[in-house]
Every structure is written in C-alpha cells, then in structure tokens.
C-alpha cells in the first residue's frame, strides 16, 4: 500500500482517519499532483464507525435547513449516487416510508414535508393510513399516516470506503494502517505526526477525519470548540428470508436527537432493525447490550411483527461521533495548514464525497496548490449486492454458501489494493462469514484459503 518509506517522505497532505470520510478525501486529493497519505490507527480502512453504518444513502430531507449538514448531505447524495454504480458499489433505490404512529406524529408530517422542501427536496409526499398499509402490508397495526420519500436509497456501506481507498491507492496515495496518531506538531513548513506504533510522518497540510477521536487531534493542535461524546447505535440484522416483508425503508418520525429506530432492507438482501441511540463515555464500547437488543425487538414487534419470527443473522453496535453541537464541526486554520472535519455522524456516508470537496476547497484556502492530474485511474469492484450479478452466477466455486462467495472472490480480497488482513476485512470485502451460519460451514475452509489462524 505504501510505495515509499513514509518516514523519508514529506507528504503534501496527510489525512488522519481511514473511515469513509478520510478515504473520500484521499480519493479526491489523489486526483491532483499531490503526495497524499491516509494515516489509520486500525489494521484496515473502513473498519471503525464506518462499518457499523445504517447503510442508507439519504436525500437529506430531514436535515436542519441551512446547516452544513443539509448542504453537504444533498451534495454528497448526488455525487455518491453517480459514483457508486461506476465503482461497483451496490445501491438500490428502494425509497422510504416515514410512518406516524399517533395523531400527533401524523400532524407533524406536513411540517416535515415543508422542511424537506426547505432542504431542497421536493418529492416527499404525505399519504393517509390506507396508502401506508397498501405500500407495506406487513406493517403492524396503529399507523395513522405517513410520508413517502421516494429517493432514499440503500447502499453497501462496506464497499464505499474501500472503493475510495482503492482508487486513492490506484492514484498513488499511501494508506498507512496500524498508525495510531499520538501527537501533531506544526512547524514552519512541515507538520510532524508522531504515532504510537513508531514511525513519524511528515506533511505540509493536515486533514482531521479521525471520527471518534477527532476532538483529541483538534486539541493536540491547540484548538478547541467541540468534544466528541459517542452515541452508540445497536443494530440487529435479520435473515435474508425476512426480505419479502418490506419494500421500502420504514422510518419513524425523527426527533432532534435521532432519526429513530428504522427497519430497512439492505443491499445484501437482509432486513436491518435499529439503531438505538445511547450517549456513552467510552469511545471503544462497541458492544451490544441486553437492554439495547430487547428494546429494538420491542420496537420491531410493533413496526413489523412478522420480522420477529425470523432468525437473526447479526447484532452489532456502532459509535456515532456526536458532539455538543447539532451540526458538523468543519473548520480550517491557515496558520496551521489544517482542516478539521469533525462531528460527522451517521450521515457521513452520504456526505462523504461532498466532505471531500469541502476539505479540498478549504485546503486551497489554507494555501495548498492543487493541480488536477491530466489522467487519473478509476477502479471497479465486484458488486456485493443481491441485485447485481455475482461471480457464483458465472460458475465460480462457492466457499461461503450462505452469502454465495466464491474462492476467487476470497483470493481477490486478499490481494486487493488495500488487502484484507483479517476475517473482518474479508467479510467487508466479500460478505464471506456475514451470513446466517456465521462460519458453521466455511470457517475452516476460509482459514485454509487465507492461511489465517484463529488461535489467540
């Protein structure tokens, strides 16, 4: 992944954080005559908060009008919707149905439609109770009305940061994994980034896309302004046999704190229930809880009762980088040659490519000279979505039967531009082990194919 000794190089721009935002920034920067590196604390890109996303490509209909988030989600939506098919990222235009469960919520729908218009989104349509049940006949009793948002998409949240990272590497950016940043020291021309794992990295400009630890990086530069308070979201993924139970993403009426618990199809053909929203202190507490799981099941039972008869394939939790503010915390500091992309919560997946544009514009404001390359390399991955043709359908030998992943796909993942280095990375690149048996049938075979051990 790294083409040169990182310690001997002075990068033009270093992006701290290899999540979906950091990778999107690196991808865009790599299209310019710049030496670019992503510095990631973990062993892989897209392996932190980005992997536990709700996987929705939002129109931004419910954002706060006039906010940075509103503007960047709308712009990011357009960019990613166009980019995804060309890069092999699965997207499906399933639409969303926002359901009101009492008269008060039903009364608020008109206001929500007006808010959508204020966000530049004009296709939201308020519908009555009958239309709600016509659209989703497995919905539980008690709905009083709804609003259809036809342009909400579902997207593959794993392939998105990977595609960005692969394309960045294809255009000669370096991805430096296992580099946990300890300190950033800004000099006259060069900023020195010290890492806990050893190497120091030198750069002229710095972008903070560190997600949950964005506030720590920001403070290490002597700045202040926001504090990350992780908001944990637990999610339950149901078996693919549940997929016929719904057509659209089913949303509740959002509150100021959260978009609420939704039931959504995934591009992999599953049904997802969640997320919860718990403010916690520990930035590493990605475990699920009994209370969280039971709370979700209670909500799921009300929204889509038949869902509870299906098997659960996966339970996980992600931490949103929430702050004391409601909006994204984006700033640039010319004296420090530094751009901060802080407080990016679950909409970061949708907004990622717009955040990259924003970062580049602000880097230029800080004095970066970015000249577009005459030619750039594009990449195309094998799409993982159920709606796409997959290698097993062309006769590839299947190793993971639940997700129909072929031996060839596993080999490709292990030699990718940013290769899978563990089973978690393999799962995000191929879907292997992500299915209903969770390795009952294929774990040993995958150990053999990859050469990886499960011993501690």
């Amino acid at each position: 992944m790294s083409t040169a000794d990182p310690e001997a190089t002075v990068y033009d721009v270093v992006v701290i954080g290899g999540g979906v935002v950091g990778c999107a920034v690196a991808r865009l920067l790599s299209h310019h005559y710049l030496r670019v590196a992503v510095v990631e604390a973990g062993p892989d890109v897209g392996a932190g908060t980005s992997k536990a996303n709700t996987a929705i490509l939002h129109t931004g209909f419910d954002a706060t009008p006039g906010s940075l988030e509103s503007r960047l989600v709308a712009r990011g939506y357009a960019l990613l919707r166009e980019y995804a098919p060309s890069a092999g990222i699965s997207v499906e235009e399933v639409g969303a149905l926002l359901v009101a469960w009492d008269d008060e919520q039903a009364a608020s729908l008109v206001g929500l439609a007006a808010k959508a218009s204020a966000n530049g989104y004009n296709h939201a349509e308020v519908v009555d109770r009958d239309a709600v049940y016509d659209g989703e006949r497995h919905l539980g009793p008690g709905a009083t009305g709804g609003m259809i948002v036809p342009d909400e998409h579902i997207i593959d949240p794993w392939s998105t940061p990977l595609a960005f990272a692969y394309e960045a590497v294809a255009n000669y950016a370096d991805i430096l994994v296992n580099c946990d940043v300890a300190m950033c020291k800004v000099g006259d021309d060069v900023t020195i980034i010290t890492t806990r794992s050893g190497p120091s990295i030198r750069t002229r400009f710095l972008v903070n896309a560190a997600g949950l630890r964005g506030d720590e990086i920001h403070r290490s530069l002597g700045l202040d302004g926001f504090t990350i308070r992780p908001r944990r979201g637990e999610l339950i993924v149901f078996d693919k046999l549940a997929r016929p139970l719904l057509n659209r993403t089913v949303l509740p009426v959002p509150t100021s704190k959260t978009k609420g618990v939704l039931v959504a199809p995934t591009v992999f053909g599953n049904v997802m229930l969640g997320p919860t929203a718990d403010d916690i202190d520990d930035k590493t507490a990605t475990g699920s809880t009994r209370a969280g799981i039971n709370g979700l099941l209670d909500k799921g039972r009300r929204i889509l009762p038949a869902l509870l008869d299906e098997e659960v394939t996966s339970v996980y939790a992600g931490l949103r980088a929430a702050t004391e503010h409601t909006d994204y915390q984006i700033s640039h500091h010319r004296d420090l040659r530094y751009v901060c992309l802080g407080g990016i919560r679950s909409t970061g997946l949708t907004a990622s490519m717009a955040l990259a544009e924003e970062a580049l514009a602000r880097l230029v404001e800080c004095g970066l000279v970015a000249k577009r390359k005459d030619t750039t390399h594009s990449i195309r991955m094998t799409p993982l979505g159920e709606e796409c043709e997959r290698p097993y359908q062309r006769g590839g030998q299947i190793v993971c039967h639940c997700e129909r992943v072929t031996v060839g796909e596993v080999a490709t993942a292990c030699t990718a531009m940013v290769p899978a280095v563990d089973f978690d990375g393999l799962r995000r690149r191929t879907r292997a082990l992500a299915g209903r048996c969770q390795g009952f049938y294929c774990q040993a075979e995958l150990c053999k194919l990859t050469g990886w051990s499960l011993a501690p």
Partner: protein, 297 residues
Amino acid sequence: MTPVERRVAIVGGGPAGLSAAIELRRLGVRHVTLYEREQQVGGIPRHTNHLGFGIRDLHRVMSGPRYARTLAERAARAGVDLRRGAPVFSLDDVEADAVVLATGARERPRAARLVPGDRPAGIFTTGSLQQLAMAGQRVGTRAVIVGAEHVSFSAILTLHHVGCKAVAMVTPLPRHQSYGVLKLATATVRRVPVLTGVDIAEIVGRRRVEHVVLTDGRTVECDTIVFTGCWIPDNELARTSGLAMDPTIKGPSVDGTFRTSRDGVFAIGNLVHSVAAADRCALDGKSVAADVVRSLA
C-alpha cells in the same frame, strides 16, 4: 413410464441424502442424481472425529469420517450420479420427477441467540470447531461451552484434541440434555463443571475473548467460546420453494411418508428433525425411497 425409468434428484449429500440415493438405486430407479454444494459428500459426520456412527443403519460402530466415507463409497458403487460442488438455488433448476430435500441443519451461532457484548475473535460453533480441528488448526486455550446437548459433550472431546481446556459448560436449562454416560465420559472425566440454570449475559473482549459474564453475575475467564446445539434446519431452499413450513421445527411440514406440501417433493433428515443422530437421518433416507417410488407409479 414405469417408476424405475423416472428421474429422482436429491439435494444434500449427508447421511440422509446418501442413504436415500443408495436405496433408490437398490429399488431400481435408473436416474438418481445427488446434488451436494460442498466439494465432498458425507455431511457433518465428515468432521466428527469420534466413534458412535453407523450403529442403527449399518449395524457397526465407526467414526464420523469413516462413516461418511462408507456412505459415499456405497453411493458411488450403487451408481448414484454424485454432483459435488453443485449447489441448488431453486427447485426449478432441477430436472426430476421427484425431489428429496436433505439439506440438514446447522447450530445457531452467537448472533442468532442474541447474546450481547463485544464481538471479538474466538467465538465458534461445534461445527466450525470440528472442522478446524480436522484441519489441524488451534483455536484457543480456555473455552466456555454454551449448551449441554449431545453435541456439547462432543465439543469437550474436540477441544481436548486441539489442546484447548474446556473450563465450563453453561446451559439455561435446569439439567443437561444428554446421556448420563456421555456426560460421565467427557465432562466428568475432564472435570468440566456443568453450570445449569445460567446463561451468558455478556461477552467481554475487544480483539479476543477475555471473559464471559454469566446471568448469575459470575465471571468466567476464557479466550474461546463454543456455541453448541440449538439447531435450525437449513431451510432456505424449502422456504423459497414455497413449501408449507412447521413453525416449531422451522423445517417443511411433512406427512408420515415425508411428503411436503408440494407434489413430488419430499423432505428427510435434520431438515425435518432438527436434530437427530446421523444414523437416524440415514434411516429416513432408506425409508423415503419406497415412498418416492410409490409416488412415481
């Protein structure tokens, strides 16, 4: 066409499917095709490396791998068209006058049991553990076994074989659900405490399992957890084919002659038992053959 000239397809090459195929050939059915999605036939016994197989059907006592090999050889000798690496995604893809579904069952993994906590490495099912053991892979050093069925005690042997100590067996039920003699030969001999009436409340460990918290508040240090039993039929093909399902077993509903709700489609073995021993599944296979032939008349 007489029954013997018809074509019968079998989906699943475990003991039930292989036994059905062998018996159909013995009854003279000319075209018997068995579709197995793995590269080898034999099913779960291929990886169950201890004695106790073949008693009721072959009237011999053999190890799982030997039993699987024996059935596979007999099927090949009987003239069954064995298609390995041949998954069946839809019954429409199978050209046959009758189909026997024998897709078996799997153990529910951790997520399906809704066990909260971290998601570290070191979490297995008996199925994955046995395959890793057969491949000579090590798994960990201290294991907690979840469940106390026959297969759970079998996991103690497998763990011992790979140099991993079973430190406790936990079941929310008031007692274990296996034979006393099996418990004696495994848990008692190896001094594995069987903790009844408790369940796993939380799994703790960031990269690797560090310990489990039990529902009674106790903590058990371990780097490995094996989720055993709690079987669910591999029912995807049955369900996507629109067969009427048994809501309790979660396999297709069958009558006394293994007929499902769809004409010409039969279901046998752990797809409808969830779960019986391999030799009992094999007896299903022997028995269904006559029913299939009768249905083709």
